[in-house]
Assembly symmetry: C2
DNA sequence: TCGTGTTGGTTGTCGCAACAACTTGTTGCA
DNA sequence: TGCAACAAGTTGTTGCGACAACCAACACGA
């Protein structure tokens, strides 16, 4: 006979309700972000985030490995994305002078121009679907809650180590 | 001359910090859920959610269109997924008797068995990465915050209209 | 210096999702 | 009725992400 003992701690009503909503949120939010950016500037949210990371980096340049960590991408994925962005003239890649295995990526003027064009609509979307729905208190609570969960999901803080994204206006002002 | 006026309400420090964390969360959470379910029962989280929706439906049966709405899927996507699940013997499809355009999907005994096998590990993952990181207060706050955002993202409450997912033990007990 | 192990990056293959086109069936209206 | 508009699903094509295999370059001990 197998052991039929069920020692699983099932979710109670409140846990289940909160979890269902969180799952729905994580299901819907990426689609909304992708949709707006694709429509307006033909960029996925991932591509946008990668360009923003480059724009706020020193010299607008970053190692592929570092950029992959910052954007939660595997290196193969980033490599494919970088090739597409380079074909569109939005970034440039060149071998790292100090380590000839490595590749550095730089955002071009065209890339800066595109994210400056994209940023207002993106921020508008973020406000419309998320921030404007929350009170100042809830904003703080969200910060704490997401921080607590990220302590489990991303203990090394790879994703959140990035510089502030929108607090200083367009990328040209922030990264120049 | 183009109008260079910048009337965008850029994010302040607190908004930006909370947003960065929320984005990181929505980026990482789906991967964690998929990974555990794929490893343990060769099911994506989407497939798991679809099976759970069927298991908790009356007669364990649902219209394809309804199921698509409940799982935030397009009908083509659900059609492909349903074909794969049917090939694995986890669901069955048959024409709706009252509307011959429509198709009904039913979860099989094998399907029920698989989600009963999957549920404990899935709940464990949910606890480990999310729920156990939050205080009871934060759980309530998360419920409210996600609810507020979903009011914008999903005003018709298509995704959250589902029955409670884990509050009553295995699917066989819940759906029988 | 040589050889082994490791790191950085690219390329190829497979599976899944988005989108469009198409088939079939239903509804509504003349 | 008969015909036009619409609804429900399926199928085919395209593009992206995951994974594995591969190549190039560095590090370090013998």
């Amino acid at each position: 006979m197998t052991d039929m003992t069920d020692d699983t701690r099932w979710l109670d009503t409140e846990e289940s309700a909160a979890w269902v909503r969180l799952v729905a949120l994580t299901e819907l939010l990426p689609g909304v972000l992708d949709q707006q950016l694709l429509r307006d500037v033909q960029l996925t949210h991932f591509e946008y985030a990668a360009l923003m990371a480059l724009a706020s980096a020193p010299d607008r340049t970053m190692r592929m490995t570092t950029l992959a960590a910052r954007t939660n991408a595997t290196l193969p994925r980033l490599s494919h994305v970088a090739r597409r962005l380079e074909e569109r003239g939005l970034i440039r890649r060149f071998p790292c002078p100090t380590d000839r295995r490595a590749t550095n990526a730089t955002i071009t003027e065209a890339g800066i121009g595109l994210i400056d064009e994209a940023a207002p609509g993106h921020v508008e979307t973020v406000r419309q679907y998320v921030l404007d729905a929350l009170s100042p208190e809830q904003l703080k609570q969200l910060y704490e809650i997401a921080g607590a969960v990220l302590g489990r999901l991303d203990p090394d803080e790879r994703l959140t180590a990035t510089a502030c994204q929108f607090s200083e206006g367009p990328a040209i002002a922030r990264a120049g």
